[in-house]
């Protein structure tokens, strides 16, 4: 099976203290560390497992600046066969549809049976998977947490309200957006990264993608981000007093009352 996984480089929420710039145009980027978007990492692991079971190749593609090479390499160290960066000054400031358009141009040049994206990104809006499927006119399932290959079809599970599971059959080729927890992504050690450090990662710009500057980038965006701000602090949290036992009892009471535990 030919599998394409779309990945994104994002600020690592676990390893940064995110602050908003005073003018609200962006977050403060000095001293921020980045990693591959967590959902995308699960998608790559799933693709590798499918490939290892049924054969084929896994290609990883990312729309981003040159720095995104780092995460493509990381996913290749994990086991992806090919990696491609789609990067161009004209792509900067693309909205969700813009990114989906760029990715579509890449998908059109190859032949993929299965296209995976993360369900959402730490710094995104969870749009690209669905839009890409629509642009490609392919079937789509979102927030997928289980995949089973059945010939030219897939059985895909989706998590629905209350932790319940829904199973669907979907025909290939298709686009799926992957939920975290679908698998346990393998660890990529420093040695693994060193091994792929010298690999050439091909980079396609707008011309190679056959795109007009007008449909992508800030110019082509129909959604414009106006500002970032930190919400004003609401009322303080309720502090639970008493001995450990009393505190535990109170917490259980609150959780039961709000439906957290049954």
């Amino acid at each position: 099976m030919e599998i394409l996984v779309c990945v994104k480089r994002v600020p690592d929420t676990a390893e940064n203290e995110i602050a908003v710039k005073a003018d609200g145009t962006d977050i403060v980027r000095d001293d921020v560390v980045y990693s591959v978007n967590e959902w995308d990492n699960y998608a790559v692991e799933e693709a590798i497992q499918i490939r290892d079971n049924v054969g084929g190749t896994v290609t990883v593609v990312s729309v981003g600046d040159e720095e995104s090479e780092e995460i493509i390499r990381r996913e290749m160290a994990m086991g992806a066969d090919k990696g491609v960066l789609l990067s161009d000054a004209a792509f900067e400031g693309s909205d969700g549809l813009g990114v989906a358009t760029i990715l579509k141009s890449f998908v059109d040049k190859g032949k993929y049976d299965l296209i995976l994206t993360g369900a959402l990104a730490d710094d995104g809006a969870g749009q690209v998977g669905g839009m890409l499927a629509a642009l490609l006119d392919l079937p789509y399932a979102s927030v997928v947490n289980k995949i089973e290959v059945k010939g030219d079809k897939l059985l895909v599970g989706r998590e629905i309200e209350g932790g319940n599971q829904e199973m669907n059959e979907i025909s290939l080729p298709c686009v799926l957006s992957i939920q975290t927890g679908i698998n346990e992504p393998r660890y990529v050690g420093i040695r693994g990264i060193r091994k792929v450090a010298s690999l050439e990662i091909p980079c396609d710009g707008k011309d190679a993608c056959g795109l007009d500057a007008g449909v992508v980038g800030a110019a082509g965006s129909k959604v414009k981000r106006l500002t970032y701000f930190v919400p004003e602090l609401g009322e303080g949290a309720e502090m639970i007093e008493g001995s450990t036992e009393e505190q535990v009892e109170k917490v259980i009471e609150i959780l039961k009352a709000k439906g957290g535990i049954k």
């Binding site: 994990m78 660890y187 040695r191």
Partner: protein, 701 residues
């Protein structure tokens, strides 16, 4: 030639066959089989990874004398130890007798050089060996009763691992007893015949096996005595050569391998073996696979360890992971890997495939369960190592990407931020701000060329954990009061990487080590102080070319002795107990300084827990182990807190940030809150330091 009371074996016949013939055929056949077995057993050692074990021959020889011949560790388990020493000493003494007997079958009157029975030494030896044989027989009987009837718990084999090993043990004890009895009757029958024929019998020490045999056989006919004599000889011959060939089949291989195994032991505790001996760092990138995946990926010495394991169970009896029900028992690492080796390289027929250990022989959880506390290694009578094997297995798991999800985030944070919490580098010296008035700590700016004579290496948990940085503050305050300047690397300090290395991520460790080494050397420090035993061990043993490293307990003890720190009297209501951190005690032999420092607090009442010093019980592990979620029935900390409670203590003093975290958690989960507290030694000293009342600052004019 004196008149012979009975025909010697060399002149007698056994079921019509001349004994001299059997005495040639049996040894030759047995030795051929034995050599073949050994050759087959050597196969995996030849295929194994390299190891360096022939340096420092004087230390090695001393180890062999102390631990192998001296049986130094045996009495730590009193009953089994004494029985073992009796049997071992007997074997050493009787080895000459056994060789003599083999030759007596061919040539009568044979004796080894220096042991002529007519000479004093020969006669003395004959008495000594009778005493030894008697002691061995008694020890075997007691050991058989102990194993067969009392069945000490530590010999149990869980059903999922395999069958009980009692049969194997009792068979060997039976064979040894058989040898002792056979020789006894061989000699006893001769003495009885000599007595019957009025010949002065050679001296038999009363109450030894041959003496009893001679008494038992007194009055028997000459033919019957002749039969006893020849048959006893043959029984000895057959058991002896069967025994030789049974040894390499199981745990009694240790009879052959353990003496060399001790000579080849690891000499530097607390260190971790290189990924592969003989390879430079750059060459590691070229390795196809890293760490241990198949059993032959272990080094040859580690395979010799598997062969040498006597299955005594002391390691697992001491193992805290085993005690809390984690799926790890060091003993079975050895036994399972040994059995796997035996199946891959069988003595007959096709071997099974040399496939990956994880998933069939060992489990991932088993390998991640180890806290590397070293209790197992410290207990092993024949110095079998486990930590290096666990680390090599983890290196294999890391190489294959099989790292528990709970450890991936902290590893990624260590890679990006130099600490497992993902905190910003610039916040590393944040704790110094709270104490800037009472104890100003100099945060070096390495890039600007700042230097310091003494460097305080704080490490991650003490830098970033809100509850634990109190240790750093206390240490800084105490040092400042004593007039020492305190300097830290701040953002330039990275995690020491102690657990990163022991969790198998060697390459990440090397990155951290490089960064720290550069920063420390740039600081020009002539001495490093640390409050964290893991950092202490790491800088001392995993790093090279650093200035000397000292744990704060040593520093503070010196300052107290020099009269630079004066301590207030202890609270008379409190009873203190000191918990030895694994990486201060067992891995670095630092047992006394912390205790003497505690005792320098006037009036302090201190008790010892049942397990202390080198049998200290791990708190649950530090560094990355705090992130790992093991399967377990209880927590190590809970057991430890319970031990402190039983010792009558209400304050547990530790000297390690991780011990403090685990003890505090355990006090809460054991419902001892309010009854017991855990405190770090540096904090305790700081709280008792007498400081001149700070004079009010003169008002600015």
């Amino acid at each position: 030639m004196e008149h012979l009371a009975l025909l010697p074996p060399s002149g007698a016949a056994f079921f019509g066959i001349p004994v001299w013939f059997l005495a040639v055929v049996i040894p030759v056949a047995a030795i051929c089989i034995f050599v073949r077995t050994l050759a087959l057993r050597l196969q995996p050692l030849m295929k194994a990874a390299p190891d360096v074990r022939t340096d420092r021959i004087f230390t090695r020889t001393w180890y062999m004398l102390k631990f192998a011949f001296g049986q130094y560790k045996q009495p730590r388990y009193w009953t089994a130890g004494v029985l073992h020493i009796a049997i071992f000493a007997g074997f050493i003494i009787l080895s000459a007798r056994s060789i003599t007997l083999v030759f007596l079958g061919v040539t009568d009157g044979f004796y080894l050089p220096g042991l002529n029975p007519e000479s004093f030494t020969g006669a003395a030896y004959n008495i000594l060996k009778d005493m030894a044989a008697t002691a061995v027989l008694i020890a075997c009987a007691l050991a058989a009763v102990r194993r067969g009837i009392f069945k000490p718990e530590r010999y149990n084999v869980p059903p999922k691992i395999g069958h009980d090993h009692t049969g194997e043990a009792v068979l060997i004890l039976g064979m040894i007893s058989g040898l002792m009895l056979a020789d006894g009757f061989f000699e006893g029958s001769l003495a009885a015949a000599q007595a019957a024929q009025g010949i002065t019998p050679h001296f038999l020490l009363p109450a030894t096996v041959p003496w009893f045999a001679s008494k038992l056989l007194a009055g028997a006919s000459l033919e019957s005595l002749q039969a006893w004599h020849t048959n006893a000889y043959m029984v000895h011959e057959v058991i002896f050569f069967t025994f030789l060939n049974v040894l390499p089949l199981g745990k009694h291989f240790h009879v052959i391998t353990s003496i060399p195994n001790v000579w080849l032991a690891k000499l530097d505790k607390g260190t971790v073996k290189p990924v592969r001996y003989g390879l430079e760092r750059e060459q590691l990138d070229e390795l196809e696979s890293l760490g241990v995946k198949k059993v032959t990926d272990f080094t040859w010495k580690h395979i010799l360890d598997f062969y040498s394991c006597a299955d005594c169970g002391r390691c697992s009896d001491q193992c805290p992971a085993n005690a809390v029900g984690r799926p790890l028992s060091p003993r079975f690492i050895s036994i399972k890997c040994r059995d796997k080796l035996f199946r891959i390289f069988p003595l007959k027929g096709e071997g099974e495939p040399n496939d990956e250990l994880i998933g069939s022989v060992l489990s991932e959880d088993e390998i991640w369960s180890c806290t590397t506390c070293g209790a197992c290694e410290n207990e092993c009578p024949i110095l079998i190592q486990y930590i290096d094997k666990i680390v090599d297995l983890r290196r294999g798991l890391v190489d294959a990407g099989n790292v528990p999800q709970s450890l991936q985030k902290p590893l990624s944070a260590l890679e990006k931020r130099g600490n497992p919490y993902g905190k910003m580098e610039k916040k590393r010296a944040e704790w110094t701000k709270d104490i800037k008035d009472e104890a100003p700590v100099r945060v070096l700016d390495i890039a600007k060329g700042d230097t310091a004579d003494t460097l305080y290496f704080v490490d991650s948990i003490t830098s970033f954990d809100d509850q634990i940085c109190s240790i750093a503050k206390a240490a800084a305050r105490a040092l400042t009061t004593a007039g020492e300047e305190v300097a830290v690397l701040g953002p330039a300090e990275k995690d020491s990487g102690h657990e990163v290395r022991r969790f198998g991520e060697e390459f990440l460790f090397m990155d951290l080590k490089d960064q720290n080494t550069e920063a420390i050397l740039s600081s020009g420090a002539k001495k490093i102080i640390t409050t964290d035993p893991h950092a202490f061990n790491c800088l001392k043993k995993d790093y090279e070319n650093l200035p000397p490293v000292e744990h704060i307990s040593t520093t503070l003890l010196r300052l107290v002795r020099q009269g630079r720190l004066h301590l207030d009297a202890a609270d008379p209501e409190k009873i203190y107990t000191y918990h030895d951190p694994c990486y201060l005690g067992r891995h670095n032999d630092l047992y006394e300084d912390p205790r003497q420092l505690l005792d320098s607090i006037p009036g302090l009442k201190r008790v010892e827990m049942a397990r202390s010093r080198d049998t200290s019980f791990c708190c649950g592990g530090g560094g990355l182990m705090l992130f790992y979620e093991p399967e377990e029935e209880t927590r190590m900390g809970s057991i430890r807190v319970d031990m402190a409670n039983k010792a009558g203590a209400n304050v547990i003093v530790t000297a390690c940030p991780f011990c403090k975290v685990n003890m505090e958690d355990a006090i809460k989960t054991s419902g001892l809150e309010g009854k017991m507290v855990a405190v770090d030694l540096a904090e305790l000293i700081d709280a008792h330091v007498v400081r001149p009342e700070k004079k009010a600052e003169p008002q600015a004019a």
